[in-house]
């Protein structure tokens, strides 16, 4: 890879960072919303008996789900922010530069992934303060691996959506019709695969939901309880999904014209 390409990747990343740091409302919103879930939902249901949940602490169950949610939202936002660039013309400035499309996507992706990881870590730290403990250093590293993969997958997904949408109106619809079901059927908020009372048709859907493997893997890596599949199996599945999503996102992006 030429030096110019590396510099372009770096400056794409730098731009994402600068915009993120300057957009205080975005910083606050993306941290506060998961915080509400964690503190209010977590405290409210802490002593409730959750069907299918192992161990007594709902907060421990919920924390990985909320970390995943924060990363998902933030990464999606990055992917979709390409829409902003297109609408405001900036995308043309990027596309007319003598830089390969792949470097442009790569720079943007690592920028978006970095931001969502920062947010994921903030939630993680808050969860630890609230009493969620990570058992060991390898467990923490394993957790980080899942967070990174989730971030890249979600950016790729955002790229796909951004390439297929040409205006903002569709964004809200996408959020409601795609993101919310993905999240609800991911076992982020409550156990699903191990829940005996859950309709079997929905359980089948759960196994088709990529988010399920992300959340389940993250939970297995982070807390070591309440997971359905062994973390290494999840890791393999998540890795495949990530590669596929990034490939698909890059393909759609390189096909789209400014």
């Amino acid at each position: 890879m030429k030096g110019a390409e590396l510099q372009a990747i770096y400056v794409m990343w730098l731009r994402e960072m600068k915009r993120f740091i300057r957009s205080r409302s975005r910083l606050i919103a993306t941290v506060v919303q998961p915080l509400f879930f964690l503190v209010i939902l977590g405290s409210g249901l802490r002593s409730a008996a959750m069907p299918g949940m192992i161990g007594g602490d709902y907060l421990v169950f919920l924390a990985p789900g909320i970390v995943a949610m924060a990363i998902l939202f933030s990464s999606m936002f990055t992917g979709v922010s390409i829409l902003w660039d297109r609408q405001f013309g900036f995308l043309q400035e990027v596309l007319v530069a003598p830089i390969s499309r792949l470097s442009i996507i790569f720079g943007r992706t690592i920028g978006g992934a970095t931001i969502s990881l920062i947010q994921g870590f903030i939630i993680l730290v808050i969860a630890m303060f609230l009493g969620v403990s990570i058992s060991s250093i390898p467990a923490l590293l394993f957790t980080i691996v899942f967070m990174v993969l989730l971030a890249f997958t979600a950016v790729g997904f955002g790229l796909v959506i951004a390439s297929k949408m040409t205006d903002f109106q569709g964004f809200q619809v996408i959020m409601n019709l795609i993101i919310m079901p993905l999240l609800f059927l991911s076992s982020a908020f409550f156990p699903i695969a191990t829940n005996p009372g859950f309709p079997s048709a929905l359980v089948t859907l759960v196994f088709l939901n990529p988010m399920f493997y992300m959340v389940d893997g993250l939970r297995g890596a982070m807390t070591g309880v309440n997971y359905y599949l062994p973390p290494l199996v999840n890791l393999f599945i998540v890795l495949c999904i990530c590669v596929f999503m990034m490939g698909l996102g890059s393909y759609f992006f390189s096909k789209s014209e400014a």
Partner: protein, 328 residues
Amino acid sequence: MDIIKTTDLTKKFDDFTAVDHISFSVKKGEIFGFLGPNGAGKTTTIKMLITLLNPTDGSADVAGFDIIKKRDDVRENIGVVFQEPALDTELTGKENLDFHARMYGLDGDKRKNRIKEVLNLVDLDDKKDVLVKKYSGGMKRRLEIARGLMHNPTIMFLDEPTLGLDAQTRRAIWEYIRKMNKEENTTIFLTTHYMEEADYLCDRVGIIDRGKIMIMDSTDNLKNSVGNDVITLSCSDTPGLIKRLGDESWIKNIKQHDSFLTLGVEKGEEKIPVVFDIARTLNITIKSISVRKPTLDDVFLYYTGRTMRDQEPENPMKMGFRPRAHGG
């Protein structure tokens, strides 16, 4: 030396042919203008030349490189000022330039020096650390010109560089465009639908209408082709007068537009009494008459049979977000 050369360049969007087999060339160092109404195919042509759109047919060389086979070489040699501002408004002016410089592989001191140079060229040095969202329209345009120049392009493309700016700012932008042509030896390719802009800036002009080039020549030659002077008049019986004036050999051309008649003549002020005499013998009353030097407006009318202004209402979308890639 031809720095841009196109052969039968064509772009179709479904059934609509935006650019229809155009062939032209631009010489190194000149300011070349594409003049035409909204929707004539100006922006589509530019987008093909700057490698953002693939032509449906035909070919083009920019700075000696084929726009399809040698995209990256073309991209390295061109600067672009887009019709819609293409700045990151969340970054400062200097950061926008820095972003651009890095995208074009300028490193270290070279980058810093060049940022200073271009900022000075467009007089934005004192505003360089202000977020672009706080810039005025004119400042944004200047910053874009500066940015386009960052990597010392051989050719600068400007798509409607003064669209939506007030008269005073427009003048200032014109001066910057001339300055970069002279001081940076940059060949300039611009599009405009303002006659006075093409008239003031361009060495040569191509008039484009409905995807075709109607005529291409120096601005002086174009104006001379219409006649040294233009007489515009309105009268009580336009068809009658046209019929009679058609026999006069001193009239280079006659065009009717609405109720007005335009005559291309030599020594216009001497011809006014002659026109009056002719009208009187036919019992036609002349309501108004004027003589003036021809403008590119007259040239446009002459070659297309319409004035530029006729077309404005056809494209009410122009001021908002335009449908992508279909623009003038």
